[in-house]
Symmetry: C2
């Protein structure tokens, strides 16, 4: 079984959106995906793409994706952030995730970054084990903080 | 006491670097700052800046900074990431952090993003309380994962 890793094309965004939704359901937030296929087509391509996407193909079917973009660490300078690494349920355990992650590492090293980073749910033990086996570090002491637009507006009204 | 929030200038990067280093010491990683003043001057300015920095001034002294850049959420689309919110030790408790965070929210809303996000150390209780009081959500279930260049090279050699 051959796994082909390639850059995503605009016309892959329907399949990419399906995988993003599949991950949201797995992560118990089925209604979280506000981004549309059209948003991905607009945001990921053109003159100033906001992300770069790799896809893994098996028998001409998209089995997984890795979606990355640059971040800036005030400790390490430019870094690569892996927003999503997704392998569709039926294609897990075949090395698709490892092939995608390997490509992301090559991409990061080619850019000369000192680090790649991503986030994982603390109950997703198979993912955590996989990442640790790859040599990644789980930073147990850092928490993700988020504030949505409504909360921002509420805060600004207080003042 | 007047707190002035303004965009950072290239010549502020010496003070900004000092605050980044002060935070790294506070966060018990005194040797973590590999970025130089020159890196910040190059990376934050010019035609394609990798970050945007706000500074808080009191009596013409830089008392704090907020450093942001864009990220891309596959759930929410373009978002603003707050990499660092730093107030120098001697200027804490005067509202400098709140003024900076308020400016970041205005900046995010002006850009039309659905969310701003950042990270906090789980033992930094005063910061967590401050963020929660502002209406932010601490996502206790997400872990930060990192892989440095050496770990990437080691992994790629394995295959």
């Amino acid at each position: 079984m051959e796994i082909i890793i390639r850059d995503a094309l605009r016309e892959d965004m329907t399949a990419v959106h399906r995988l993003i939704t599949e991950l949201a359901v797995f992560e118990k937030e089925p209604d979280a995906v506000e981004v549309s296929i059209g948003d991905l087509e607009r945001d990921g391509f053109g003159e100033h793409p906001l992300f770069h996407c790799f896809v893994a193909e098996i028998d001409n079917q998209i089995a997984g994706i890795a979606l990355v973009y640059p971040r800036y660490s005030t400790w390490n300078g430019p870094v690569v952030h892996l927003e999503d690494l997704i392998v569709t349920q039926s294609m897990r355990g075949k090395g698709v995730g490892a092939s995608l992650l390997k490509r992301v590492m090559e991409y990061g090293l080619a850019q000369g970054v000192r680090r790649i980073g991503w986030e994982v749910l603390d109950w997703n033990t198979p993912a955590i084990r996989f990442y640790e086996n790859c040599g990644a570090t789980i930073r147990k002491d850092w928490k993700v903080v988020q504030m949505d637009a409504q909360a921002m507006e509420n805060y600004l009204k207080r003042k």
